[in-house]
């Protein structure tokens, strides 16, 4: 079983290379942001690996269901290789040469099965734009050897007809939600249900992984924090008792005071001169 996966991983190499090239096309980030955050998600069942980046071992015995990173990678091309744990890079089971990492992006690279059960690598660009105050972002990625699915929250489909290797996303009220995955258009539960805690100001990325045929369907989750926004304002008073600054009557009073002083002074002066 495991060996057959390895063979399939090797076959998937060419696909992976193509997929990497595709990332650059849709993440033309600002020129000044040269560094990208890159996470790696392992969604191939029963296949722990070592991960090499540019010939250097970066992840040791990386297990299915784990998420590594984020790594800060300078914009550029990278050679990535996966080996069986402990094996030399020469006997890599999957190699991707000159994978293009664009600048200023947040990327998740998923090693997973395609719809037909072939191992492959798909890079996803993560939406790390700010969410409104009180909201959380939910992103679901179909990276399992399974047909099209619907994602339900509290029994109601929220994302429909999601296929491998695509994603669906939305900003929802932060909080807890009971979610499950069903075969598209049916009530046949494929994964779950599970309690999702969607924390405000974060993106929760849920990957459906494994194989329906192999009965290894599962989920891997990745969370990106720091996407929160501040409230629009803090309105906290409409009484006016604590108002500072001065009202119109203050100017009237001050004006009257000055006039009285002047008037009184002039009168005194004229009175004195008058008596002389």
């Amino acid at each position: 079983m495991q060996l057959s996966y390895f063979r399939r991983v090797a076959a998937g190499g060419a696909v992976a290379a193509l997929a990497f090239a595709g990332v650059g096309a849709f993440t033309a980030g600002p020129a000044y942001a040269a560094t990208s955050k890159v996470s790696v998600v392992h969604g191939i069942p029963d296949t722990p690996v070592d991960v090499y980046v540019n010939g250097k071992k970066t992840l040791d015995n990386f297990k299915p269901g784990d998420v590594a990173g984020p790594l800060n990678l300078e914009e550029g091309d990278y050679d990535i290789a996966l080996t069986k744990p402990g094996e030399p890079i020469g006997s890599a089971i999957l190699k991707v040469d000159n994978a293009a990492v664009p600048g200023g992006a947040n990327i998740s690279i998923a090693a997973h099965l395609d719809a037909a059960g072939q191992p492959k690598i798909t890079p996803f660009v993560n939406d790390v734009s700010k969410v409104d105050a009180g909201k959380a972002r939910l992103i679901v990625r179909h990276t399992a050897a399974a047909p099209a699915v619907d994602v339900r929250a509290g029994g109601t489909p929220v994302f429909e007809d999601l296929t491998n290797p695509n994603e669906a996303k939305g900003d929802v009220d932060a909080g807890n939600v009971k979610a499950d995955v069903v075969l598209a258009g049916t009530d046949t539960v494929a994964i779950g249900p599970a309690d999702l805690n969607l924390k405000e100001g974060t993106a929760t990325i849920v990957y459906a992984i494994g194989s329906a045929e192999g009965k290894t369907l599962d989920v891997v989750a990745q969370t990106i924090t720091g996407l929160h926004s501040a409230p629009g304002g803090v309105p906290s008073g409409d009484g006016g008792q604590a108002g500072t600054g001065v009202d119109t009557w203050w100017y009237v009073l001050t004006g009257a005071g000055v006039l009285l002083l002047l008037g009184g002074g002039v009168r005194m002066a004229t009175a004195r001169t008058g008596r002389k």
């Binding site: 784990d66 100001g201 409230p231 304002g233 906290s236 008073g237 008792q241 009073l253």
Partner: protein
């Protein structure tokens, strides 16, 4: 002394009295002013992240669990006579504003931000300065707080945590750097917010926000 002279003296006295009253009122109505602004902004700046950690963090991709947050339930500020119940509040759906509790003797903790357990970021509590219908609010005298005053926040775990006021700032509402006060990074701090400044009687709104920043003792 002539009648004329007496009249002039009276006018002078009245003038002096009027100006004295006006002067006193002007002093009393001075905006609270700002102290410790620099310290408050320093607290908000996040420490530089460690340059390229040698090893890559690996985590099990489990579904995120409910975070363990300790909400404040009670706030005590002896200097200005505040003993108030703290409610966990969020965002007003319609206005996108902080949902300050409608009852002016209660105050609201921003439940999306850090709780008292947090080792980083700003715990935000806002309260009414006053209300047209209910009169003075819990934070009526917030603008009187000064550096060194003590604030005690009790958490849902029963533990009382003491904070020392380091800054009091006044901002026109359109210019207040809310991102800084609702930050989830930077040094751990307690941020108290209410309204202040000149009151627009027609719009029934204060022009400014008063912001008090305190740090754990």
């Amino acid at each position: 002394m002539t009648v004329r002279n007496r009249g002039a003296l009276a006018a002078l006295a009245a003038g002096v009295a009027a100006l004295t009253v006006a002067g006193l009122v002007a002093c009393a109505n001075q905006p609270a002013g700002t102290v410790g602004a620099e310290e408050a902004s320093t607290l908000a700046s996040a420490p530089p992240t460690a340059a390229s950690a040698p090893s890559v963090p690996v985590t099990a991709g489990e579904l995120p669990a409910g975070p363990k947050i300790i909400p404040p339930v009670r706030l005590l500020i002896p200097e200005i006579g505040v003993t108030a119940t703290v409610n966990a509040v969020g965002i007003n759906e319609r206005t996108n504003d902080f949902e300050v509790p409608p009852s002016v003797d209660q105050i609201g903790w921003y439940r999306y931000g850090p709780g008292l357990e947090a080792d980083a970021g700003s715990v935000v509590i806002a309260g009414h300065v006053d209300s047209a219908k209910q009169g003075k609010g819990a934070f009526f005298r917030l603008r009187e707080l000064d550096q060194g005053d003590t604030v005690t926040a009790t958490g849902s775990d029963g533990e009382a945590r003491r904070y020392r006021v380091v800054a009091r700032e006044e901002y026109v509402k359109t210019k207040i750097p809310l991102d800084r006060y609702f930050a989830r990074d930077g040094k751990p701090r307690l941020t108290l917010i209410t309204c202040g400044g000149p009151f627009d009687a027609k719009a029934r709104k204060y022009r400014d926000n008063i912001v008090v920043t305190a740090v754990p003792v």
